[in-house]
Point group: C2
């Protein structure tokens, strides 16, 4: 941290989601000086939410005892379909946003260059550059959290598709409905392997009379259940939690097998809040099942690795975005 003082040029990476805004303060070597998190308040007006992002950025700098004059650029990952060239959030369902000029509005408020991409793309970029040294040619980053999203790098470049929505892997159907039931799409990757899925299954099991130590601290309704609680419960030998988390890991393995069969990427990185909290329980099982359910031979030599950046992948990636943007222009 010694290199980050009041004379150091700063870049800021922002992970902007439907529930929280996380800002990270970096030097050009991508060393992290500190972070600040505030809630998004997505129900408020677009203007107010953008004000909050700007405030989170400014306050993060102050929190690190640095001054905003040091800031050279801000990168930001936003949820939904993003036009990276124009810096527009085309469609952000979590936010209720359509065609919001986020880059322009933030530049007005912050008076530094702002660079925008989709949040999962930013996470993938962060992992690619910071954890893997930018070396892998074809990489898929899969992020397990409240939902499940992915970022895609093909031939060394971010791939975002026709409507800039590529990577919506959480909505991939992996357990289709019954044959006769044409109107039931069945269950998606997210329905089976996200934190939301795990929480739902644990709550249902408790309602069905199953025993878990989770209810001892959280009460029978498990209202304030978090990923960290799952980790603690498994560590204490809670069978129900372990079984449900493992089941999600098997489905995550199937999701990854589908990625291997279809895309055969050099590297699959698995990250997100669920992996950050439960890597020990989930990761090996995810990898084992990904390889087992892939077509024989096609997974050979493919790296499947957990991201160490956890919930910080987004701010690292956004900082990479800002650094690249500065270089380019």
């Amino acid at each position: 941290m010694a290199s980050i003082d009041k004379k150091t040029d700063l870049i800021i990476g922002v992970d902007f989601g439907g529930t929280k805004i996380l800002s990270g303060i970096f030097n050009h070597g991508l060393e992290l000086a500190g972070t600040l998190k505030i809630s998004t308040k997505a129900q408020r007006s677009t203007e107010e939410v953008i004000d909050r992002i700007a405030r989170c950025v400014r306050d993060a700098v102050d929190e690190c005892d640095l001054t905003f004059k040091q800031v050279k650029a801000v990168g930001i990952g936003a949820p939904g379909a993003v036009d990276t060239t124009e810096g527009v959030v085309i469609n952000g369902p979590n936010l209720g946003w359509q065609n919001v000029q986020l880059k322009k509005e933030l530049e007005k408020r912050l008076e530094v260059p702002v660079f925008l991409d989709n949040d999962c793309n930013a996470c993938t970029l962060g992992v690619h550059e910071v954890e893997l040294g930018g070396q892998s040619r074809d990489l898929v980053g899969v992020f397990l959290g409240t939902g499940i999203g992915a970022g895609l790098i093909f031939n060394g470049k971010m791939y975002s598709g026709f409507n800039r929505t590529a990577g919506e892997i959480g909505h991939m159907i992996i357990r289709a409905g019954g044959a006769a039931d044409k109107d039931n799409p069945g269950e998606t990757f997210e329905d089976l392997a996200s934190r939301t899925a795990i929480f739902r299954r644990i709550k249902q099991a408790v309602k069905d009379g199953k025993k878990t130590i989770l209810t001892e601290t959280l009460g029978a309704d498990l209202d304030d259940l978090r990923s960290g609680d799952l980790r603690k419960a498994v560590r204490k030998g809670d069978k129900l939690t372990q079984a449900i988390v493992e089941e999600a890991a098997v489905y995550a393995g199937i999701g990854l097998a589908n990625v291997i069969n279809l895309l055969n990427p050099e590297v699959i990185v698995v990250g997100g809040g669920l992996i950050e909290a439960l890597e020990n329980v989930m990761f090996d099982l995810i990898e084992k099942n990904a390889r087992k359910f892939a077509l024989p031979g096609v997974a050979k030599g493919i790296k499947i690795i957990p991201s160490k950046l956890g919930d910080k992948a987004g701010i690292y990636g956004a900082a990479v975005l800002a650094r690249r943007g500065l270089k380019a222009g």
Copy 2:
């Protein structure tokens, strides 16, 4: 056809599969002079199979009353993982081939330059260049036949992945096994929507005592059932065949929805023998379900189209491969 005479330079496209070899004779404008099909005899030695490919190429030229001296290049699509640079079939499970120097061996036999790619890549290239004028930036070709395969074009270039096996979409799990059954991967796209799946379901239904006019011409064991029989049965109002073909189309729609969610390509082309025979029954249902099961908004503007090339997509694509190879080299 007037432009293809004994003075015209020829290129040959070969679609080389586990059961048949199809050669097409083209001029440089990709006009087709004629085709010849022989069986692969994959159970014979590698040398003998390569001899058969060479023979099929030479005989196709003769069949068109042209001479082999006119041939400037041969392109070939082969099943399995292919090293396009070295012209090697790295792994061809249908053939039992490993590391076969197909380019070199064919060049030895034919004394013209040979260019090799994977068969689904060749089909996709054919559709991209011949049907779509090479315009679409991101395209996924999905080919429904005995199995289901795909070819991927990202940023205008064929994408083949780390082990050159990208596009194995037929093995994507879309109906995972029961939650508790960790060793049952469930059913793949191919298990649910290929010609094999349709045939299996019809045969099972007949065993279960269901009525179909198919048994009138083919007998109760339906031994010689073909795609064309399905088309005729549907046209004659056979309810069982119609229902089973439609069910496969719904699953194919789910498979395509997964592609749209994950890759958001500009164009999805649906081709292969099953579509060639049953486009009228299947295509609209495939498209409808693909759009229905994709995340709202993400399929907007994406083109989903049937390939008109049918079983000839492979030879057209292989001819494109040969033409490109000549230009590059």
